[in-house]
């Protein structure tokens, strides 16, 4: 008690220190909370484009359509109501532009003042109609039935292959192509960076003279400090045209370009982590191997690499983690086409690049905005899984000692 009155300042400082320690944890929880609060909102939304109505004749037995079905109907791939559970009759699509086929300009009114009433009449007249129009033209005594669109489901969101977040009349929210694009680019990056990085780390740890190592190490560390947008710029002006020329492609902005740029960016992480791992090999082990007549190279690949394999896999996983979350460089060189990728020579779109490219245009709180937050959630979960794996691998390593 006496102590407290002697050092009130000290108590305050200690309280501050504890609070600071807590702030970080709170921040992480806040990030998770905000991401998931916005992101999960999408699963209570129907995928109708903002401010529009899809309506049918009141007698039509079809009560609900999925976003995919709506798109196929408007793309003329589904043409009969019986394909979506209705009567055997052709689907007749009515969009606002078609109004002139039904009524003259006088009947609509100079300022469209009779438009709601006219749309009402059209829908009431034709039992096979599927009408789509802005909700400002929905008349008060609308006799048609507004069609419900099936809510977006978690499964549909993840397995859907089409990503058209602003298409009318029903937005398509399928992220499979984005997930596959992200994985493809990251996988390609590791395929390129792991052998190179591992070789460099072995060279630095065992072969290079201390003097040479003293020069190479800071140079490689510098590689880690260069901003990703500079790598993206370099990829854009050098690697992309190069790929276009070598493979004779119409565009050079491909998964391959993304993989190369990301691979270069992942190199420093892989090199420094696996070099550290190689250096942890106990000296006694190395010397025992050499004393038994093994060459230095045999010692490296039969003793040191197996001993530090968990550290090396940590390096690989961390490299993948960096590649998955990387945004700007990928955004600039991969072409951003949201299709299911089949080869490295096609444009792909990754999750971070999608968020970066589209968030600026998505109205706050809308379905597109929420979909991008849901993408953020997926990205967060992916990187979290990777970090937990790294923790597990390194915990195992400690256990083995």
């Amino acid at each position: 008690m006496n102590r407290f009155f002697q050092n009130p300042g000290e108590k305050i400082i200690e309280a501050l220190i504890t609070i600071s320690g807590t702030v970080t944890s709170l921040t992480v929880l806040l990030i998770v909370f905000f991401l998931f609060k916005e992101g999960l909102g999408i699963f209570s939304q129907t995928p109708v484009a903002e401010g529009s109505v899809i309506a049918v004749h009141p007698q039509n037995p079809v009560k609900e359509l999925s976003a995919k079905e709506v798109k196929e109907i408007f793309d003329q791939e589904i043409t009969n109501w019986n394909q979506v559970g209705g009567a055997n009759a052709p689907i007749k699509i009515f969009a606002l532009d078609d109004i002139t086929d039904y009524y003259t300009e006088e009947q609509i009114g100079a300022n469209f003042e009779y438009l709601p009433q006219r749309i009402n009449e059209i829908v009431a007249k034709d039992p096979n109609i599927l009408a789509y129009f802005p909700d400002e033209y929905l008349s008060k005594d609308f006799s048609g039935r507004r069609l419900k669109l099936a809510k977006i489901t978690v499964l549909g969101f993840i397995t859907g292959t089409q990503w058209y977040p602003t298409i009318e009349p029903a937005v398509q929210m399928g992220v499979l192509s984005l997930i596959l694009g992200t994985l493809l680019v990251s996988f390609g990056a590791i395929l390129f960076a792991l052998p190179l990085g591992l070789a460099t780390s072995i060279y630095l740890a065992e072969i290079a003279s201390p003097k040479l190592r003293g020069i190479l190490k800071p140079v490689i560390e510098l590689l880690a400090g260069i901003p990703s947008v500079v790598y993206g710029f370099f990829g854009l002006v050098v690697i992309v045209p190069l790929i276009q020329d070598i493979f004779g492609l119409p565009v050079g902005e491909t998964a391959l370009a993304g993989s190369l740029v990301l691979g270069i960016m992942a190199l420093p992480t892989i090199i420094s982590v696996s070099e550290d791992a190689l250096r942890t090999t106990p000296r006694a082990m190395k010397e025992a191997s050499l004393a038994l007549g093994a060459s230095k190279w045999q010692t490296i690949y039969k003793v040191m690499i197996p001993y530090s394999i968990s550290g090396i896999s940590t390096a690989a996983i961390l490299g993948i983690g960096r590649a998955i979350g990387e945004t700007m460089a990928v955004l600039m060189v991969t072409g951003n086409a949201s299709v299911i990728p089949t080869t490295f020579l096609e444009p792909v779109r990754t999750i971070p690049a999608t968020i970066a490219a589209e968030l600026g245009e998505a109205p706050q709180g809308g379905i597109h905005y929420q979909a991008l937050f849901a993408l953020g959630c997926i990205l967060f979960l992916m990187t979290l899984a990777i970090n937990l794996t790294v923790d597990m691998v390194s915990a195992k390593k400690k256990e083995n000692r």
């Binding site: 501050l16 560390e221 968030l359």
Partner: protein, 294 residues
Amino acid sequence: MALQSNTHTQAGKRRAQAAAFWIFRLLSFLVVAILVVILGFIVVRGISVISWDFLTQMPREGMTEGGIFPAIVGTFCLVLGSMLFAFPIGILSGIYINEYAKDSWFKRFVKLMTNNLAGIPSIVFGLFGMALFVNYFKFGDSILAGSLTLGLLALPVVIRVTEEALKSIDDSFRIGSLALGATKWQTTSRVVLPMAFPNIITGLILSIGRVSGETAPILFTVAAYFLPKLPNSIFDQVMALPYHLYVISTSGTNIEASRAMAYGTAFVLIMIILIVNLLANWLRRYFSKKVKMN
């Protein structure tokens, strides 16, 4: 016969080793060559663009002429703002984790969360910053929102740097100080922290380098596409170097005409990173000499 085969395998072993080592040497030089090519390319193309006017003038003619002064000022504001936020909290958290926290679930929780924060992709910070600072707190696109977002990004780096620096101080110093009757805080502030200071300051400077090049977190929290004036308050938007480079190399009004400016901007960004690295190295050496002299 046995002897012969032995010498034979010896020679084979030596050949295998020589071949393997040559492959490693070549691959390592390839890695360094990649870096040299990237740096060299941007330096060679960029250095001819750099002039006093380029550094001190506003961009003109849809960013095809003029300089990048507002972007330099903007980046400076963002770095300063984020550090004002990240340094105190980060350093205090590092002290908490290493000096004060007992080995409890809470300490493990804080450490786990710090690691998580370090692993979150930068674009997710951008999403969060937009949801919380821009929209929820209604800061709008502003230096304040951008600095806070970047500060969060720098936080785990600062914490880890502090923690590592403190960890490297031998326990005998703490015990000695406590035995002389100093309180915990006196020990921490007068004995442990001064000794860890060189390493902490080096790490902090490196985190400045990282923050100054980040693009994704500022996309939706502060960065302006084209804003040829300087900010008046912390609620203003600013241009920033990395975002400026992104814009003029992908979506400017005339990409070909803006190329020179893009090389110049990339050059300035790389120079910032280089200077920050050199400064950190110099400080590390300067302080280690000083410690030795004492």
